[in-house]
């Protein structure tokens, strides 16, 4: 067992883990952040995406011991006082999910994408979500949701509100 200290969604945790514990298992089973899910065994699907020191990573491909002393943000850390993060709201409004399994990872990656490139083209959004697989939506509405949050973009309701 190795002792680690990690800040998860703004709270400090100190725990003993086996070195082989994957970050995703630590988050789900020891910290209780079951919002972050596991969708594959091959590091391909991206459903486990979290932010490590502000950058997106696949938490199934990082050991918890590697995150010792670092900050992790999961999908559960996005809402503030019950208010959804704008990207969560955008997924909701644009019907960007069906079964919802890919959604936690998709939203975490979408936020990272706009952090790095605040006004992407549609092609850049598709490239930036390359590491996240969705088996339901066909991606169209996911791309729409992300573009709605790009710098300078407005949702139809915001645009209408501005006119009236």
């Amino acid at each position: 067992m190795t002792q680690i200290s990690i800040n998860v969604d703004g709270v400090n945790y100190s725990d003993d883990v086996e070195p082989r514990t994957l970050l995703v298992h630590y988050l789900r089973e020891q910290v209780g952040k079951t919002g972050t899910v596991i969708g594959c065994d091959t590091s391909n699907c991206g459903s486990c995406t979290v932010h490590l020191d502000g950058q997106s990573v696949k938490s199934c491909s990082v050991f918890a011991v590697q995150a010792d002393g670092h900050e992790v943000t999961t999908i559960e850390g996005l809402a503030v006082d019950g208010q959804l993060h704008p990207m969560q709201q955008a997924f909701h409004e644009n019907h960007a999910l069906q079964c919802g399994y890919c959604t936690p990872g998709m939203i975490m990656q979408s936020i990272d994408l706009l952090n790095e490139n605040p006004s992407p083209s549609e092609e850049e959004v598709r490239d930036g979500l390359e590491g996240n697989l969705c088996r339901c939506t066909g991606y169209q509405n996911i791309v729409k949701a992300v573009l709605s949050q790009a710098e300078g973009a407005r949702t139809p309701s915001e645009a209408q509100g501005a006119q009236s």
């Binding site: 082989r20 065994d41 490590l52 950058q55 491909s61 050991f63 990656q109």
Partner: protein, 284 residues
Amino acid sequence: MIPAAFDYTAPESVSEALEALRSDAEEIKVLAGGQSLIPVLRLRLAAPTLLVDLGRISELHGITDEGDAIVIGAMTTHHDVATNPLVAEHAVLLTKAAETVADPQVRHRGTFGGALVHADPAGDMPAPALALGAEFVITGVDGERTVTAADFFQDLFTTAVGEDELLTKVRIPKHTSWSGHYEKFTRVAQQWSIVAVAAAVKADAGTISEAKVALTNMGSTPIRATAVEQALVGQPATAGAIKAAAAHADEGTNPLTDTNGDADYRRHLAKVLTRRAVVSAAGV
């Protein structure tokens, strides 16, 4: 799946890491970004008894300007290579290649050094490193040695780095007024290269004065397309001249046949992708 149990150490200096590599554990593995190693451990295709994590060794991170070369620390991530201004200015071919590796999450963790030591024939960093004449600094208890790219890549997944050694940094000679392009052929998103071509060219007044071209996944190691390079030098930077030179791209290659394509198909791809890579690099 959960990997088999192992012991873990995260040294804070290269010398401590080298010491750990000489401990009497049964099977020792170096852990860099983990983006190739952790998937392998999860599938239990390997079961080392000790992992030596390089992640806390600050001297292995970062990119510096050293006069006629830029020096990239082994633990520098693909993301940092792809977005670093020194790399963009002096070795734009590496910028272009790093952008094509995997996906953003993997690029945030996976490292330049790890990708080179892993030496997957379909990996995207070896061919650009070969094309640009990279020098690999390998450190062991007896000190440092420097090997050329031609000596570094020895075979499939095999490099000049010994079991008790580390790749610590890579010197990339500056190619400041050169342009570059990495043309990668895949059929689905997030795929490894079926074939890819790394090209750097220098053009003066519309004539190609120097050219460096290397191929990904056309053999067990990256291959320098010397016949293409020779055919390009002195030619006008036009689509026709480049196409004629690119016809030599499969000379001296030994591509494999697998479910993504047979050897003849890869030979064909090498020519087409070489033409596209040089055309893009030359801005034709």
